[in-house]
């Protein structure tokens, strides 16, 4: 080990309940199981339609807090080969989506964690890359969980500072490292 870790024995939690708590389906989607709908679709595909094709019937599925959580849960902690989900640094209940705004509270494992800014930066980069531009993202330390909460919050939500941090090649490399696993989305 090259460097003393901030927290060499953090608490690990079981993965949070589910990849997706059932978003209650409405209309036809609820009555018919997914396989049935799929089969119907396939049939349409195989037999050339007489007359005009069917119109598109896509209902919009809005981005919700669960989807945002899904984007963040599998990011790796900078100190351990463990996901932020397992360390409960991000929690589904601490993510709020309203209109075009996303608010994420992160919980450091210990109050003096020097990695908080780095984790926050990783979250920000991930959302910058994975959410449509119309969203405004706020990332905050969960109140009362960090010694220098205010300073970290300021740093994480200052556009220029975030930009400057991302121009630092080394820092970006570390962030990219944490994001490597992000697309697992809770799957092993």
């Amino acid at each position: 080990m090259s460097r003393q870790l901030d927290n060499d024995n953090p608490t690990i939690f079981a993965p949070t309940a589910s990849t997706s708590t059932k978003r209650i389906q409405k209309g036809k989607a609820s009555l018919w199981s997914e396989e049935a709908l799929l089969e119907e679709e396939e049939e349409e595909e195989y037999y050339p339609e007489l007359g005009s094709g069917s119109g598109s019937k896509e209902d919009r599925e809005d981005i919700d807090s669960e989807e945002v959580y899904d984007l963040l849960r599998s990011i790796t902690d900078p100190e351990h080969p463990v996901s932020l989900e397992a360390l409960r640094v991000v929690n589904p209940d601490d993510i709020h989506v309203a209109g075009n705004r996303v608010l994420v509270y992160l919980t450091p494992t210990i109050p003096h964690c020097s990695m908080s800014t780095l984790i926050g930066l990783s979250l920000r980069v991930r959302l910058l890359r994975a959410l449509p531009t119309r969203y405004r993202v706020d990332i905050r330390i969960k109140s009362g969980t960090h010694q220098s909460e205010h300073a970290v919050n300021k740093q994480l939500n200052d556009k220029e500072r975030v930009q400057a941090a991302l121009e630092n090649k080394h820092l970006l490399g570390v962030v990219e490292g944490c994001l490597q696993t992000a697309d697992k989305r809770g799957k092993a």
């Binding site: 870790l5 690990i12 990849t19 389906q25 199981s33 007489l50 599925e61 351990h80 080969p81 463990v82």
Partner: protein, 1036 residues
Amino acid sequence: MDVPRIVRTHISTAELNPPQELIDGVSNGQVGLLEIVKALGEYLTAAEEEVRLKGLTFLSNTLSVVSVSKINRQATQTLTNFYLSKLDDFDSLPPALDGLTILSKLPTFDDEAAIEVYKGLVENVNMKAYIQATRHKVYVLFDSLLALHRSALRSMGTSFLNSYTKMVDGEKDPRNLMLLFSIDRVILLEFEVKDHIEDFFDITFCYFPITFRPPPNDPYGITAEDLKLALRGCMASSPYFARMAIPLFLEKFATLTGPSMKDLQLSIAACLPVYGAESVRERAGELWEGIKTEILYSSDTSIEAAALCALEALIRTLYPPDQSPGGIAQDIIKECLEILNEPEKTQALAATKILAAIFRSSSSAGKFAISQALPQLFRQFNSPSLPSHRAPILSTISSLLLAIQSVYSSSESHRTQQDEQSLEPYHQGILDVLREGLRTEGLKAPAIQGCTACVQIPGFWAKEDVENVVRGLDDILVNDEDPEIRPEVIKALTTISTHHPTIIESLTLPLLFHNLPDTAPGGEEHIAREKYRSILISLKELCVQTALFQTLVIRITTKLDLLSSPTDKDIDMDGESQFDRRECTIAYCWDLLHALQGVIDMKIKQKHGDLVRYFDQLVPRLMTLVISSTSNEGVFGDRRLIGLIAKIVESLVWELPSERQSKWFAATYDAFEKGEWRGVVLDKSITSSGSPLRVGASSSEKDLIALYSGCVQALKLDITLPFSSSAEFLSSKIHWAIHVAGEQWQVKWASDLICAFVNKREGDLKESLETILDSIWTKEIQDTSADLEVRQRGLSVYLFIVKALSLLRQPLAYSSLERVIDILSLSNLDTEFVGFAANALGILAQGKGVGHLTAKLLFAQKLWNFVLPKLIEGDKEANGTGRLVYLVAFASLLPLIPASLCLADLNTILPLILRSLSLPDPQQRSNAIRTLTSILETATDSKEVDKAIHTHAETMVESLLKSAIKQPKVPTSAKVRSSALSCLSMFPDIIRFEILHKYKSIVIKELGKTLDDPLRNVRKEAVECRSKWYRYGNAV
């Protein structure tokens, strides 16, 4: 033969391989070896180095090709001596070594010669002076001597060992080292090396740890891993190393990192068992410290795994079965239990792994570990210091049980619960915590794991214990809504059902069926619907087993019977809500039938023989349900249900032996052609108003065609038909499909019937087929004044017949198809119909499908090779919008061909695919993208593909982006968008960065739009694709 002349010419022209003539001469005894040596004489002793070298090389080359039997003892001796005399000649050494290596392998080469050669080498050859290739020759010769004259060398004793270690000292080339390590190992294992062990230590451990990195494009293909394994083999070949090696290992713990640390741990794992308990015990504590650090703190899981291997070796070495578990094992276990006092921390996971490793590696220490760990864990579980600790504690218990199970249930370990009884004292304790876990929120997952493990430990749990936990598992299955837990429970129950099927049958199944509602949940009762669906999923997994299938059949058919008769509740309702009610019931029936179908498919896949037995129980019953619904508008008149039942019928009929199939088909034939239902239904009171296929039958009667079609599709090739003229039968079905059938759905099933019949009975139909096809073409298709829909139906039936024939590679298929391709050129005159025709070629692209059609090898290739040139030609001749039709036809056919076929003429196909990416119809675009994806997948195998895709990379990226983004007024589908995105995400892995670097920022920007796609699944693809592109070109 003039040997001197031949030799002279060869040496003087520097052609140093002996001519065939000479080799033959030696083989048939005309020329003696001695003669050649004599002829070479002047060269072999020449004063100029160059000439000497040529002579010697010629001799060695000759030896290497002549037959072994031609070299007699005397010749061997003479030649050996001759070569030995050349060893001190710097330039002559390589050919001399070659010659000696050949000689050393001869049966006439004796032990004395071997010793002499060896001595000659060590006395005369100064290794440091020679290049790698020459040194390699020396080692090859050593290797050969050691392989064939090992005992002679061994008898040399000290003088051999001393000289050998000096000789090979300082070698650095990996190719030579690979050889040396294998020689070293042999010597270490078989020679008396005890007194020379320091020398051997110096020539082996000096290479540890190996940091070699092969140069790029290394032609020799030696990897660091090869060297590590070979060296490890040497290090672990003599117990005498222990004295020096263990201190070296301990020293290395402090300095090594990364792959070298992994190497160290694996080397320790390999060496300790060889070094023996005696020498390991002294330093065991220090070894444990070094191993521990990597298990507890390493951030690399592969190093952790290596360290666990090392730990297992340590324990296995120190604690053979009869050794009492005192000393270090005690300390380690104590340390682990200390760590487990904080069970929620990362280190607790590591401590669990350590305990499991101890169990695996020694029966005595393992039993002791269990006796220490379980009581403490039970205590912690029952009175945890924090409530949240219970989950990790139970996880630890389950992980240990899993480790125990892996040892006791494997036949290789030779350890069983019966012999060791290590779990016996904790029988009740384990059962208590697991049952408690099954009942408690948050503890279920580890409890389920623990139960699964215990059930599989032979001789541990009695039947009552299993029943006990099955009850707990059933409870979760029925009451828990957590979608993560349920699959775990099903997995556990399925495992249990292979060991104790009766328990599942008597406990789980009744409970599950009891929880399936008798009437369908209403439109708004989402939760109830989710619940029965999850129960059906469980049943689908469990009931595949023969013992449980019967219950499933009985219960499901009973449920369906109940659902088929409208209840009082339904009748009370007024118009609109009754329709909803009906829809709910249909959906419920669909799910029930789908579960049944799933189990049947699984049984077919696993080749269960018992399906045939259920034929009479299932098929007539399902037929009754559908047929009785035609008259009373019952739920089973719904097309979705009829379609599903038709598929089930098809699967079951296919399983019947031919003879029974003939009978069944005859009965079906009577039913559909004459309205005689009695032979195919269970309820004989069903009356009919005549054949459902007659002109004037109601639409719901016509829907029954699906059942007919299902039966025909399942027919085997050798059955007896109930009618004499296949052609007549076929013509009547064709007529029905084109003129009598009401809606597209009926046409579809009729077309499948026609296709299957032609495909199966092509032999009977032979002569008439051409006439039939002709008459469809002239009567139904060509007449432009006829109703468009009739013409379209005619064409699709026509193409279904062509498809049936093309699967058999019948020539008629291709000549008939030509007409269809010809009319593509008429797109200006008959626009709508030709557009339809281009699309309809997709019928051919379905290939064999999942059904029971007969297909000959390479049918797709033949069809494709016939169609493609015609389409390309047509495309060239047409202009303007006329070309579009050909492109549509091309794209519709794409699913037919495997990627390998595209690769053959990629240069023609790729541009067409790229053009197809801009077609308006999303279905055709997604065909094109699918083909493109499979081409890209094979890109790494072939240089040509690689080149082609690199040339077109930019265009591909642009078109794919267009398909990926949802734009107003452009027809699109979720499928085309997500397949475009997943195709696009392959580029960063396949296309070299310099080709696309200027596109990176554009792609990332454009992909930003796809993040806002209305569908969640598409967004997911978009996020993945975009993060790949972000990483594109970044150094790894």
